[in-house]
């Protein structure tokens, strides 16, 4: 029998210890068992000046069958923990959706039948709880998400032993960033800087225009909300390979949020900021002020929805967004109540974005 991965063995040991503790609570100590987890959310998110990123605070929550609301949650955590243990025992890998399906079941009798998980969100939360309980990120116990990050440019990756030159196909397509980062290694990088854009459509447009060759850049996207692998790749390129990183997202509160995800982290993953956040990344655009400076025609602007406005107001209140630049931008947005996507530059011509706007911004920031 081949020796099992040491990290995996460690996770199994930790899960078993948790289970043992709970059964001891019930059998020996005769008290209601509970697991204590760091609290996740705004009120337990702290800005760290020293690390320049969001970190998790000291608040904790007790999850256990003592409260009616937590009974289902508690059993969900345990069921998920056992599923993870089984996954590692069988030396398999799974996506978070796979874990959801593996643990699907119904609860209750004929009269009060309900689902064990209301949706995949519940099972994702349970997986997060396992991360917190074992203090091991889920990639380390082979639970990953579907890859959606993309990379294109002069960089070579070693994925599961295969060498992939991300520059080769760059005329036609981009390389998906694998999510099982344990199998991923950056071999070498020959670029001058890394540019992250919000969406793959924009990335494709820029790639087609010959931007990579012209400026010797690596293009990346998280296709919306970036997954963890993409964030880690950005961080690795910036910190280990000393690449300057610039970020372009849409000029709306959502886009700004995505850009900041790379730079300062997020409330929901504040416990993992050390692995995910790239504090030196520069958010260059698209600024709300760009809408007016680059004279985006009115037909290409979108009216802000109530949700956008609420989000912007929320962001204004966050202590870590009190920077003068962000305040100014958010106020501008709230004043005009207009948003704009990067794609809006196509109104000025298909090559305008890659040939005019981006070089302008990069020059301004001293990258090229």
């Amino acid at each position: 029998m081949p020796t099992r991965d040491k990290r995996h063995q460690e996770v199994i040991t930790r899960i078993k210890a948790i289970m043992k503790n709970i059964s001891d609570d019930v059998l020996l100590r005769q008290t209601m068992p509970a697991v204590e987890l760091p609290k996740i959310g705004y009120d337990n998110t702290i800005w760290s000046d020293q690390k320049r990123m969001l970190t998790i605070g000291n608040k904790t929550v007790q999850v256990g069958p003592h409260s009616a609301k937590k009974i289902p949650t508690f059993s969900q955590y345990l069921v998920m923990a056992n599923a993870v243990r089984r996954l590692l025992d069988e030396e398999m890998e799974s996506t978070i959706r796979g874990m959801y399906y593996a643990t699907l079941s119904t609860v209750g009798d004929e009269k009060n039948k309900q689902k064990f998980w209301n949706s995949q969100e519940d099972s994702d939360d349970a997986i997060k709880a396992i991360e917190l309980m074992t203090n091991v990120p889920r990639e380390e116990f082979s639970v990953t998400s579907k890859p959606k990050g993309m990379i294109s440019g002069p960089i070579n990756l070693l994925v599961g032993g295969d060498l992939i030159d991300c520059n080769l196909g760059s005329r036609a397509t981009s390389q998906l960033i694998p999510t099982n980062i344990r199998d991923l290694e950056i071999v070498d990088v020959k670029a001058d800087f890394v540019m992250v854009v919000e969406k793959d459509t924009v990335l494709n447009n820029i790639r087609k225009s010959g931007f990579i060759k012209k400026y010797n850049a690596i293009l990346m996207t998280g296709s919306g909300e970036p997954d963890r692998a993409t964030r880690m790749m950005v961080k690795a390129l910036n910190e280990r390979w000393k690449m300057p990183v610039v970020i372009f997202a849409d000029a709306d509160p959502w886009g700004l949020g995505i850009a900041l995800r790379y730079k300062i982290g997020s409330e929901s993953l504040s416990y993992d900021s050390d692995r995910l956040v790239t504090p030196d990344a520069k958010v260059l655009g698209m600024m709300f002020s760009d809408i007016y400076e680059y004279n985006i025609p009115e037909v290409a602007r979108l009216a802000a929805t109530d949700e956008d406005i609420n989000r912007a107001n929320d962001m204004k209140k966050k202590p870590w967004l009190q920077d003068r630049q962000w305040k100014k931008e958010l106020n501008l947005f709230l004043e005009h109540k207009e948003k704009c996507e990067l794609d809006a530059f196509f109104k000025h011509g298909f090559k305008y974005l890659a040939d005019t706007y981006l070089p302008d911004k990069l020059r301004e920031a001293g990258i090229i």
């Binding site: 059964s23 069958p65 923990a81 056992n82």
Partner: protein, 658 residues
């Protein structure tokens, strides 16, 4: 309802045409003025009495049952009623319906007229009764005559008379009865066992849809809720349902009263004068004697205000009399008295609420005869009830609003019961004022929040958004008055006239406050039940996850965990509710609902209504824990104080008992 003459327009066009189009004078024809008999009018306009298509049998059941109850109650006889509805000839939709009561019966010489002639009634007086118009029974007789060749069969035995039997039909053209046969029943073939009684049997042609059938069942069940002192037997082709007597307390019969002057009009005034014609009295004498709340002084003042000279009452002309009416409309009088009303009362409604009878249809599948429906009665016992009432004046008529609440126990879901003068209202619930009242009184008056309710009763089968409809609660509204503000001619829903809604709301709020402590406790019990269920559902998941990961005895862990859960809930209960309620948590098994039964009503604090009537009932209440209170205070202040004291005492005793 003096609608004796109708105008029949032979040619409708003639009126319009005559003046403007002289040329077409050929089309002119004479309008013939006919007089129609009452019977013919009502048969032609049967919708006025509710006898339309689908609803004929429902209305027949209703009329017969109401007559029977009225007949018993007017003489304070505990009703025993047998109602029968069977199919006679399925091919021709012939039904045989009969109703037998132990009421006062009808004197034999009056029977044919009382049964067959429209607008003949012993109920044309100012007091609360179910029937009023003298139409219902006649309608059955007329329809039976119209649609079938069967005579109406009547047995009647009134006091000091032998039982008589009649075969009757109605002469619809003249509103007169046709007596086919008539005889004294000899002792051996008596239909009526008691001292007096009445039985009628008719054949009707009608269809009975499932909807109507349910309405008939509902009607009988609802009637039994407000008449728990009546024995009701309902016999149909699907079985017999017996509603037992649950209390021997009967409401005091309503008394006939004089009209209130604020409600005076020319007709009532003239009628009063005619009644006094032989006495040669003055106008103010007539006023004093014919209207309530009218002192001699007040009467004189009114005559002076009207600017009338003194003469004999029958010497005034209409123009002078209308001035008296006008003055009365502008004068303040004391509120009308309520002797002519007969509310259900707390004891009776509570008896009805603590054992609600409902008719259920059971579908049995027999091996040889296939599916077969069987009628049976189901008794619902709630875990708590409460009662409250208000007296008010709506449209110059004294009105009593009664409201009751039954909660928990066997009750599964929300239900609203509406009664007007003890008659159940079954249709048009959506537009009834009671609906508005319920949606406007916030349930947090019960000390519980909407969120809490929706959380605990998530599985309630309600499609409504209103939190109250998630609760297993039955709300009863009874409005009694000599003039109920019905919304439509169909008399199925009540309009929010005058202050009626305000009084109903205050009544309901009052109840909510009264039950708040118990509801809170009930909700806590429910919460713990839900929690126990959660434990029951989720502990297997937890145990399996653990035992799958580390080797451990499933049975041992499960039982330890179950014990822990029960102990945990037991402790929680002990802290939040009464010590001792769950002294021995080990007795409660997971999944078994621990029920602290709380039965009993709370005394209404507003009951200066009938200070003279409270001595009647000493029957022990069914609930057992209901306080038997026999106080005879006469003045209101005293009454209020003592109510307060008994309320406190009541609470204390309850605390001890639970």
């Amino acid at each position: 309802m003096k609608n004796k003459t109708t105008v029949e327009v032979i040619n409708k066009d003639s009126k319009n045409v005559s003046s403007s189009h002289q040329v077409n004078s050929n089309y002119k024809s004479k309008i013939r003025y006919d007089k129609k008999a009452e019977s013919e009018f009502f048969v032609d306009n049967s919708a006025l009495a509710g006898f339309t298509g689908e609803r004929i049998l429902y209305m027949a059941v209703r009329e017969l049952l109401e007559n029977a109850l009225d007949s018993c109650e007017s003489s304070h006889i505990l009703p025993v009623i047998h109602l029968q509805l069977r199919i006679l000839d399925p091919d021709n939709d012939m039904w045989i319906i009969s109703c037998k009561d132990n009421g006062v019966g009808i004197p034999s010489e009056k029977v044919p007229v009382a049964v067959c002639s429209f607008l003949t009634s012993g109920k044309y007086v100012e007091k609360q009764q179910r029937g009023l118009f003298g139409v219902g029974l006649k309608m059955i007789a007329a329809f039976s005559t119209k649609d079938t060749d069967h005579p109406l069969r009547v047995w009647s035995k009134s006091h000091d008379e032998p039982e008589s039997y009649f075969d009757l039909r109605t002469d619809i053209g003249t509103n007169k009865p046709i007596v086919l046969s008539r005889r004294i029943v000899n002792k051996t073939e008596c239909e009526i066992e008691g001292e007096s009684g009445f039985k009628v049997e008719a054949v009707l042609r009608a269809r009975l849809s499932p909807v109507t059938k349910n309405k008939i069942h509902d009607y009988i069940s609802h009637t039994s809720v407000v008449n728990p002192y009546a024995v009701l037997n309902f016999e149909s082709d699907e079985g017999v349902v017996a509603f037992e007597r649950r209390t021997s307390v009967m409401p005091n019969p309503a008394k006939e009263v004089l009209p209130h002057p604020a409600d005076m009009d020319l007709k009532t005034l003239r009628k009063a004068i005619v009644n006094h014609a032989y006495q040669k009295t003055t106008l103010h004498g007539v006023l004093c004697n014919s209207f309530q709340k009218m002192s001699a002084e007040k009467a004189r003042e009114i005559v002076v205000k009207a600017g009338l000279e003194l003469k004999l009452a029958d010497k005034y002309n209409e123009h002078e009399l209308i001035r008296v009416v006008n003055v009365c409309k502008h004068t303040k009088f004391q509120s009308p008295n309520t002797d002519h009303l007969s509310p259900i009362g707390e004891k009776i409604l509570t008896a009805g609420m603590t054992s609600e009878y409902t008719v259920v249809l059971r579908k049995d599948i027999h091996e040889d005869s296939g599916p077969h429906t069987q009628l049976s009665a189901k008794i619902l016992k709630p875990s708590l009830t409460a009662y409250s009432s208000r007296t008010c004046v709506i449209n110059n008529r004294p009105t009593i609003v009664e409201c009751g609440i039954a909660y928990g126990g066997d009750l599964g879901s929300f239900k609203l019961y509406r009664f007007a003068n003890k008659i159940p209202l079954l249709y048009d619930e959506g537009s009834d004022v009671a609906r508005e009242v319920i949606s406007e009184v916030e349930i947090n008056k019960m000390g519980i929040s909407k969120k809490e309710v929706k959380e605990q009763f998530r599985n309630a089968e309600t499609r409504s958004d209103r939190a109250i409809e998630y609760l297993p609660i039955h709300i009863f509204f009874h409005i009694c008055s000599t003039k109920i503000p019905y919304k439509t001619a169909g008399k199925e829903s009540i309009a929010a006239e005058g202050d009626l809604k305000r009084y109903m709301k205050s009544c309901l709020s009052d109840l909510y406050r009264k039950v708040s402590a118990q509801i809170r406790r009930e909700l806590k019990i429910k919460e713990n039940e839900n929690k126990l269920r959660l434990y029951k559902f989720y502990i297997p998941f937890i145990v399996n996850a653990i035992s799958d990961s580390i080797r451990i005895d499933v049975k041992k862990l499960t039982s330890a965990f179950n014990g822990l859960a029960v102990k945990y809930i037991g402790n929680e209960l002990a802290v939040t509710t009464n010590p001792g309620a769950f002294a021995n948590p080990a007795e409660i098994e997971v999944g078994l609902s621990p029920k602290g039964k709380i039965i009993g009503g709370i005394k209404s604090s507003k009951k200066a209504l009938y200070p003279d009537k409270r001595t009647v009932d000493k029957t022990p209440n069914r609930s057992g824990r209901h306080e038997t209170k026999e106080k005879h205070e006469s003045d209101f202040e005293n009454d209020k104080k003592s109510t307060q004291i008994t309320l406190d005492a009541f609470r204390k005793s309850k605390l001890r008992k639970v």
